[in-house]
Every structure is written in structure tokens, then in C-alpha cells.
Amino acid sequence: MSAEAAVDSPAARPDSGPIVELSGLSVGYQQRGRTTLAVEDVNLTIAPGETVAVVGESGSGKTTTANAILGLLPSSGVITAGRIRIAGTDVTGASDRVLRAFRGNVVGLVPQDPMVGLNPTMRIGGQIAEVVRRRGVDKRLVNAEVIEALERAGVDQPVVRARQYPGALSGGLRQRVLIAIAIAGHPRLIVADEPTSALDVTVQRRILDHLGGLVAETGTSLLIITHDLGVAADRADRVVVMQRGRIVEQGEPAAILLRPQEPYTRHLIAAAPALSHAGGVVPCFTDVTPAPEVLRLDGIGKDFRLPRTASGERTFRALDDVSLSVRAGQTLGLVGESGSGKTTALRIAMGLEKPTQGRVHLDGVDITDAGWSELRPLRRRFQLVHQNPYSSLDPRFTVAQTIAEPLVSFRVGDRASRAARVRELLDQVALPAAFADRKPAELSGGQRQRVAIARSLALEPELVFLDEPVSALDVSVQEQILTLLLRLQQDLGVGYLFISHDLAVVAQLAHHVAVLRAGRIIESGPAADILTAPVEEHTRELLGAVPGQRFAAELAASAPPGTKR
């Protein structure tokens, strides 16, 4: 049954009618007596077995919509107009007591951030058992059902995992546990709120594939909330595009992607790397001119000591014979999954960690054994941009103080010249001069990252380390930041060491690419070679994980376009 038919027959029996029906829904947040609308006049129905994706940037109201369905709005949130129906029952503004009957059993939730979505002081099994017991399952069978849910969510060694605490699990595994919690209630609809945004692309793909398989198998409906149109296009029967609290466009993925009616949708398409290049990851630089080396890592190895066990001392080899070089005015993209050793390599390159073996050269000078005080003058020449702009800026500093801090700590210039430099830097990162007096809390994620970039450029470094600089940002904002970085490199001739788990992002910036896996460089060379003709299987896997490709590939294979998968 298609969604349109469901709208036409609202009087149908609850079992065959839509599971969720939002009509004219408006939700606002109350603050100091004023109500700001976050969602306005939203109409959305989800039919049994249907997968719907709501796409939009942060602040578009997509999460508020999802929370409103389950009645999980924060205490300041109020429904100001419209109705919410779940399985035919009107639950608009219903009490917790009424809504509880629907939560878990009718509508399940896979929350946003797996790292904080599980109770840290409770065993995995116990957290799943709560949901199983709510279905009135016999006490003796609960445990078996818990193990089954874990198994179905794709968790390895479910019996062992059930006895573990969340702290012992990786992000990907925690997300699978959250999926197990959602499916253990046998809901008719699963709401997945940015289920994989915090995860690596490869893990993201495996988990989304798994979730898609589960709902197809059981006929469950799925509501995916995402900022990535690529993710939506790959998996949804219907895509709903939201902007500033309103639905601007909805329809089948093919229709939305090929004939977008709204400029906003076109903007989102352009921002999804794979979608804008018809499925391929296209390197930005195909012709690389030789340039002098700024930074060289030579045969770097790093061992970490592990907790002692009965068998004695153990070490973990985080890096093994890693060699790479960053060239002046060019970008080296260092790619790998989490745990592959990217961050360790970065810390060694910056002199924050000493390698167990191998040498680090900066401009031909060996800095491997340089102490803190010897390294300090060199720190002017290389700077860092962190992954998360929400935590890398001091909340009490103004933007101007943040940007001028490197100048202050290296005693560069006086008050007037520093203020002038801040204005110049703000201009370079395309922020208005008026932002100088603002605090980080008043800025969006993208604006914060611009401030962090301006700070890293304050001392005119030769080299900037970019540690996943766009991973915490919306796809459309990612695009803007990448464009900015590209322009700054052309204008200032600064070299980048760019660390990322996402090859699609690396493709937009890198001249050279090195792929790291389990502490070893498995493949490296000019971006054009690695991205278009990868030799290693793992590199191909990373390339294949870029969202939006499946849709693009299907589109290419099935002419004429417009057919559903």
C-alpha cells in the first residue's frame, strides 16, 4: 500500500491504516513566556512496512517531529496545533500514562548518539530485558529473547555481550544494542534519529543495511531522521525534506533527487558528495605538481602498554612502520576507520607523543627527540583544528579572544595589531567582523569551526592538522567548510594533514591519500590514483560506504529513472 492511499482512507481499521499520522502539527518551545515554533504545520503519514526518511539540516525540526510522535519532547516543548495519531488513536498532548502504552511496543526508538544512549551502570542484557518484559513475556523466556534480540541486531557473542556493561563496547556495537532494544519490543514502527551520524562510514553502512534488512523481514515501518540526503536516498521509499520546521518537499527518492522542485532540496543534493557526482567519488586534484616536503614521518611505530594480565606485560601496536609526507601548500588525506591509528599518527606528528621507533622531520629537521621547550618555538609553524567545534572553543572566551590567543601566547604584536589581525582572519574565514565580540554559544557548528580555523591560521603556520574537521557537522555545512579550507590553501599556501574516515570528504581536498588500517599504511599515492583505481580491498570498501552511491548506481542501471527499488 502506498502512502497516498493511506491518506485517502483514514477510517480504515487501525491494523491496516497508517501507524503514525501527523496532521497540521506545530510544536513550539517555551522560553521566558515566549513560544518559538520548531515545527510548523507538518502533515506526515507512515504506512505499515514503509520506510520514510526525513531530511534536513540541524534546526529544521526533524528531531522535534520524531520526539513529538513518542511524546518525548523536553518539558519546554508544547504542541500548539494539529493532531498526532498512533495506530488510529489520537494521542495529541496525551499524558505519559497513555503514551507509555505505545512506546516500545508500537513505536520503538533508536536514539541519536550511541555513546550516551545506554545506561552506563546497567548490564546490556538488563537494559534489553526491560523491553521484553513489557510485552508480558514469561519470566523464564526473557533471557532467551534478550539473546535473540542481540543476535538479530547483529551483535557478535550475544551471550557474553548481555553480561557486559556499555563501557566495554565500541560505538558501533552500542548502536547495535540500541537497535536490539528497539526491536525487542516488537514495534510496528522504528524511529531512527540520526542513527549513525556519530559513527564511521563503513560502520554506518553496515548498521543501516542491517536495520533495513530487519524491517523488511518483519514488515516493520521505519522512520529515518537524517541530515544526509545520500543516506535517505539509499534506503527510503519516501523522502521528506524539511526546512525551518516545515516540509518543503516530499516524494519518492528518484523524483526528489532527479526533479527537485525546491532550491533547498537542490542545495542538499549538491552537498551529498556521491549524489552530486552521479555515484562516484571524484578527486578534486587530478594533476599534482611536485612541491617541497614540510613534514615527513619515517617508519613510525608506536606501542602502547596494556593492563597487566597473568601472562605478564602486553603491548598493543597502534602504528607499524608508518611513513608519510605532507608537501608545502598541498593536502595529504589520511583515511581510516576508528581505531586504525589516525589519531596516534597525528599526535606523533605534532610531538605530543613520542614514537617507539622511526623519525619525525619538520622541514628537514629531525624533531623526534625534541623536548617540550625545544618544540615550543616550532609550534608556531604547525597548528591544529579539532574534530568537535562544540568542545574545542572556550565557552567563556569571545571569538576575538579565541582567535588572538595564539598571538598572545607567542607575544606577537600589541593590542592594536592583534585586533587588526583578528579582523583580517574573520574576513578570511568569511565571518562578519561583528562576530568578534560573540561567545561560542551564540554561534552555529559551522561558524564555530570557522572560528577554530581562523585561530589555527593566526600565526601563519606552514602546516595545519585537520582532525576530522567536518565530521561533527551537517552535510551542507561540511561542504561550506571544505570549500573554505580549499580557498585558504590557495590563498595562503598552507599545507594540510587531513584526517578523516570518509573518503568522499577527503576527495574534495586531498592531493595525496594514505589509507591506514590497523596501524599500517596499506595504500598511498596521488588522490587521483587511490580514489579512481584502488588496489586494496579495504580502500574499495571505504569507497563503497559513501552514502548515496547505491541510489546513484541503481539509477544508472535502471533507465528510465523514477522506479522504486
Partner: protein, 316 residues
Amino acid sequence: MPRYLAGRVAQALLVLWAAYTVTFIILNVLPSDPITLQLSAGGADVSQLTAAQVHELKAHYGLDDPIVVQYFHHLWGALHLDFGMSLTQNVSVGSLITDKLPSTITLTAVAVVFMLVFGLAIAFLATYVQWRPARTLLARLPAVGVSLPQFFVGLLLIQVFSFSLTWLPATGTHGWKTLVLPAITLALPGAAMLAQLLTRSLNDTWREPYIVTARAKGLSRWTIQVRHALRNASLPALTLLGVLVGYTVVNAVVVETVFSRNGIGQLAQQAVLGQDVPVVQAIVLIAAGLFVVVNLIVDLLYSLLDPRVARAARAA
């Protein structure tokens, strides 16, 4: 885990030794003569004795030894729970302590139970009740408890429950009835502080994303509060609890005075005024011991409540 425990116990013993040594040094630099004190307690004067008699007395109490020898002598005794003789009362310190300690321990224990019950109950209700006025009232209540001085609360309770209502006795050491008012007095400030911290901690915990997960499971508020919020919220409160129990022991001195209870508090007061060095020394050691034991228990409770701490402890 045994490794972790051994380390903790060693640390505790070190603290006890340090406490003993520091008090020994402080008490021995006090400008007073134990013999004079002891004689005046017996109604005599040191000038009535000959130099030989004074010397004999000093030898008897080991006071003519070098200070270092005295220190090790006393430390060795303390290790065998022998604290020597009281200087002002002609009995052993050990018998004085065993005589007074039970009543103080009972009072402190009951007070700690009251503190836990009141503190937990107020924090629990302040975050569980949904009716706003009740919530606000419960959240503000602890501030009153914290700001009232203990002697005032004690006198107020005596006035109301002993003199006006005549339900409970105002003074005395024997029977459970004499325990109620002093225990409440002793528990009140601690309960208020505990309630303040726990209320705040519970409110913070309710904003955690895993609470949203729990709500999305369809669990009731009660289940979420008891199974998910309370355990996580009690972690910061646990550290405070260790300190509070320590203070309860110390405050027992004040409360025992107000309610004229015969206990360690009274003994400490007398010993300090009479400069009865061995008694003071023993009481300091007992107080330090209680502090150390309570904090050891708190540390172990931590690893019991929080698997992350337990993992770190196992790895250590």
C-alpha cells in the same frame, strides 16, 4: 581487585599512622607537665613532693625517656590497643573508651541512618513528584536544614518534644527514647546537604540521553527513577556521604553536650580541658579510624555501583 583492595587498605593504615604521629607531636609540645596535672586532679600539689618522688613518678609513667623512645613506646602500645593510663582519672584509657564508645557509636549510627533516609526521601520526592508547587517546596527545603545551627535545632526539639509535648526525654543516655532527639539533631544538616546534592544530581541525570532511551521503552516514571536515575545520580552523592559521616562523628561532641549524653563527646571535651594527653590521643585515633573506614567503604561502594570504576580497579 585484591590488588586494588590491598592498596586501599595500605593507604588507610598510612593515614592512621600519620594522624597518630601528628597528634603525638602537637600534644607533646604543649607547655604543660603531666605530673602536675595528675596530682592536681587528685587534689595534691607538685610542691608537696620531693624531687626524688617526682622522679619516681616520671619513671613510672615512662616520662623520663627521650621523646623518640616515648613515641615508639606509645605507638607499640596503640598497635595493641593499649593507650596507657589516663592522667586525670586513675583508670586506663582503654576502659574509659570502651565505657563511652558504645553510646556514641549507637548515636552516630542511628544519625547516619536518619541522614540517609531523610536525604534520599527528600531528593527522591523532589524529582519524582510532578506537581510543581510540591516540587519547588521539596527542592527548597534542604536549604533551611543546612542553614540552621545544630545547637539551636537541638534546643528547639527539646522545647517542643520534651517540654511542651513531653513525648521524649530531654536528656539521658539509656533507652531508645533518649536516642531519638539527639539523632535527629545530628542527622539534620547532613541530610539537608545530601538532599541538596542528590536532588541536583537526579535532575541532571533525568536530562541524560539514556533516560530518553528508557522512556522510549515505555517504562513508568517510577521504574526509570529507581532503576536508571537513582544509581547513576548517587555516584556524586557517595563522595559527599563519606565526608558527612565523618562530620557526624565530630558533631556528636556538640550534640552530646546539648543533650547531656554520656559518651565520647563528653569524654573528649573533658580530656581536652584537662590536657589528658593519652585520652585525647586515643580519641583522635578513633575518629581518624572511623573516617578512614567510612571512606574505604565509600570507595568500595563506588566500584560496586559503577562498573567503569570497577574496570579501572581490576586493571590497576
